[in-house]
């Protein structure tokens, strides 16, 4: 018996077309549309995509929140948000076209029928704007509201088109709640339909980490325990909690930064080369690193809380004096830890991580410190004159990469001084790097989950964090233990000094 197969001829006109990735028609529903994130990040990101013609030609946005507003009032509010926060200048024609597809639904999901209003609005968008029943639900809401929305929208998911859900951090409060949330979401949505956002992964410099490591022949051969002495990852913020006491009192630095951003940066630094740049390959490698992380003992974790101090000359209150913070709060605003990745590549190579609020300046960096030259043939004044090479990856601000190398000071004798070879993003490529949210929203529209966190990644992250914080229930540190405007508690310095190392100079 012969089987005939109809093979469609390839389109010769497609050959060589440098197509931009254009998503299919869809409607984006933002739950929590009256919130700060929507105004500061989401709408400016959507507008930036509109300016660059990267939104689908048939597109709609539905804002959902409790605040009573008409469509027109919501549009005006979002227009103002774009004028205040967008990275592009305001263009009336772009806005007019974009605004046509914006709707608003005022509802509290606790009320019966709220979800029906949303569905009705989406159906109208399908009819009027041709959004083809393709749906993205963006959950920019507190964790307590996620379950209701997932269940209600999951029950009402359209049989036609595709549905994707973007979930903002924090995804759960600990391993148990994260698992429960995963179970609930998986009841209605497949894993490939769930996009857990960690906006750090949308940053150009974070993605450049992968390019730096895997597109340059000189780094990978030395990217291991043989050549690297240790790694330092710093996420420093000069800001306080900016009126978010309700969230921060529950989260603290460990849940706000370490569980997501910092562990993601560590995973990208330590991962093996993926076989390709697909979502599954990249995430498989990251999960292997997270699984290999050795649980740090209490002596390898330091926490702190800021007291009053000065930031850029301005006197700022201590954490306990911030509005809506308990006067005896034990929430940590600083965490430093020494972690080990127990695998062939990294055995015995410490990864020192630290994050804190009210530190002297905003800075996110990954510093790869190489081992010292084994036997320098120079007569030097001190060992300190020949410092180890450091590859410094600046995530924010001033995105770029620099390499510290020793150079001869001109003149008689053989004095050596550390100098920097710098690559500053803005100095070599176009300025105005895309905002992380632009990249991530577009990727979700395209169904590309590479830069989003998978369920097993989230659970591995929580497992480590749970183990880190478990001993904290038994002791009460003497908070506050660092001054606002300093680089953290003395115990954080001791953590690294014990190993004969020090935090990098700033």
């Amino acid at each position: 018996m012969s089987v005939s197969t109809k093979v469609e001829a390839p389109n010769p006109l497609e050959e060589g077309l440098r197509r931009r990735r254009t998503p299919e028609p869809c409607a984006l529903t933002i739950f929590g549309a009256s919130g700060d994130l929507t105004q500061r990040k989401l709408f400016p990101a959507l507008y930036a995509l509109a300016v660059r013609n990267l939104l689908p030609p048939k597109f709609g946005v539905v804002g959902v929140a409790r605040t009573e507003m008409t469509d027109e009032e919501f549009r005006e509010k979002m227009k103002q948000a774009i004028q205040d926060h967008a990275r592009d200048g305001f263009q009336q024609d772009v806005w007019d076209e974009f605004a046509e597809s914006i709707r608003y639904v005022a509802t509290d999901f606790a009320d019966q029928g709220g979800e029906e209003h949303v569905v009705k609005c989406l159906n109208e968008l399908d009819e009027k704007h041709g959004t083809a029943a393709n749906r993205i639900y963006y959950l920019a809401v507190p964790p307590s509201a996620i379950e209701t929305i997932v269940v209600e929208m999951g029950k009402r998911r359209s049989a036609e088109g595709w549905t994707r859900v973007i979930v903002e951090k924090p995804f759960g409060y600990d391993l148990e709640t994260a698992r429960k949330l995963n179970e609930i979401v998986h009841e209605y949505f497949a894993e490939e339909e769930i996009f857990r956002i960690d906006h750090y992964l949308g940053k150009e410099t974070v993605q450049n980490m992968l390019v730096l490591r895997f597109a340059n022949g000189i780094f990978e051969p030395i990217w291991n325990r043989q050549f690297i002495d240790h790694v330092q990852i710093t996420v420093a913020e000069s800001l306080g909690i900016e009126g978010r006491a309700d969230y921060y009192e529950r989260a603290g630095a460990v849940r706000d930064i370490i569980q997501n951003h910092l562990l993601q940066l560590l995973a990208l630094t330590a991962m093996e080369p993926p076989i390709d740049f697909t979502a599954e390959s990249v995430r498989n490698e990251k999960v292997k690193v997270l699984k290999a992380l050795h649980t740090p003992g209490p002596k390898h974790v330091v926490r702190g809380q800021y007291g009053p101090g000065h930031i850029e000359g301005e006197e700022v209150p201590g954490y306990r004096e911030e509005s809506d913070v308990a006067p005896d709060s034990m929430t940590e605003t600083y965490v430093a830890a020494k972690l080990y990745v127990d695998n062939w590549r990294w055995a015995d190579t410490p990864f020192y991580i630290r994050t804190g609020k009210r530190l002297p300046r905003r800075e996110t960096t990954i510093a790869i410190q190489f081992k010292r030259a084994p036997h320098p043939p120079f007569e030097l004044d001190s060992d300190d004159a020949l410092r180890p090479n450091v590859l410094l990856i600046h995530i924010q601000p001033d995105e770029g990469v620099s390499l510290a190398v020793g150079a001869k000071v001109p003149g008689q004798g053989m004095s050596i001084r550390t100098v920097h070879m710098d690559f500053l993003y803005g100095g070599s490529f176009r300025t105005g790097l895309p905002e992380a949210y632009e990249r991530l929203i577009l990727d979700c529209m395209l169904g590309d989950a590479t830069l989003f966190t998978r369920s097993d990644e989230v659970e591995e992250q929580w497992a480590l964090v749970d183990a880190m914080v478990a001993p904290w229930k038994r002791d009460r540190p003497n908070f506050p233990n660092y001054e606002a405007g300093s680089w953290g508690p003395v115990s954080a310095d001791e953590l690294i000094h014990r190993d004969g190392r020090s935090w990098r100079r700033h």
């Binding site: 010769p12 006109l13 050959e15 176009r430």
Partner: protein, 256 residues
């Protein structure tokens, strides 16, 4: 990177405008070469500017070096010897040639000898038919970009969306647009479909209409790309564009 621009007198204003927009996107060393072969003096006049652009929404600024050189008299015949010592070592060199490429003069072969990529714009040519006929002569010497070709991208996508349909057996093409883009679209369709198409051309400032066998191709969305954006896009391409070269080679026996 180094960006060399060959700017005959009539293109000075356009080149300066484009540069202002491009410097922000592509911090680079720009060497502007202004040939003045008819000047009686045999001299070089030079000027160096540091042009700094505030980074949108960010602190700090990005600075680009712009070296402007007037090549007076016989110096206009040896531009490569002037440019080579000024190139940034080890980084790509792009040559933006304003106006019609001078295939028979000394400047083009010299400068294509030091550049990695030649950027042209067929819409700047007064005699597109003759220039396209000779363009394949340089394809094996240097990789060529054409801004007119970049402008056609949305129309090419719109045509590709008609496949398979009747476009596979198309017999005629009508274009209202600049001559350069019209010819490129025509050559591209002929090369890709491997068949001859009758061409009907109506001059216009930009491509306004494309019709295949009398049926109008749906108008693509506006791109809002400035001249600086179009040039900047070309500076991000490094590989040889075989499809473009085949489109140009398919422009034999250009109709009047």
């Amino acid at each position: 990177m180094t960006h060399i621009a060959w700017v005959p007198e009539r293109w000075v204003d356009a080149a300066t405008d484009t540069l202002a927009g491009m410097g922000e996107r592509h911090p680079s060393r720009t060497i502007l070469l202004f040939p003045r072969p008819d000047e009686p003096r045999d001299e070089l006049d030079g000027e160096v500017d540091l042009r700094c652009f505030v980074r949108a929404g960010e602190q700090g600024q990005v600075c680009s070096e712009v070296i402007s050189l007037q090549l007076c008299g016989p110096r206009a015949n040896a531009p490569a010897s002037v440019a080579v010592p000024l190139l940034v070592p080890d980084l790509p060199v792009f040559l933006r040639w304003r106006g019609e490429p001078d295939f028979d003069g000394p400047a083009l072969p010299q400068l294509t000898g030091v550049a990695d990529r030649l950027v042209l714009d067929a819409d700047e040519w007064s005699d597109c038919d003759a220039t396209f006929a000779r363009l394949p002569e340089i394809f094996d010497r240097i990789t060529v970009s054409d801004i007119a070709w970049a402008k056609l991208q949305p129309w090419r996508e719109a045509c590709a969306a008609l496949w398979p349909g009747g476009i596979a057996e198309a017999d005629s093409l009508r274009v209202a647009g600049p001559r350069g883009e019209t010819l490129l679209l025509w050559g591209w369709l002929q090369a890709r479909l491997e068949r001859r198409l009758e061409l009907e051309h109506e001059p216009a400032g930009e491509v306004e209409l494309v019709a295949i066998d009398g049926d109008e191709v749906p108008q693509p969305r506006a791109t809002r790309a400035s001249a600086s954006d179009l040039l900047s896009d070309q500076l991000e391409i490094f590989s040889r564009d075989r499809i473009y070269e085949e489109a140009v080679r398919a422009l034999e026996a250009v109709p009047a």
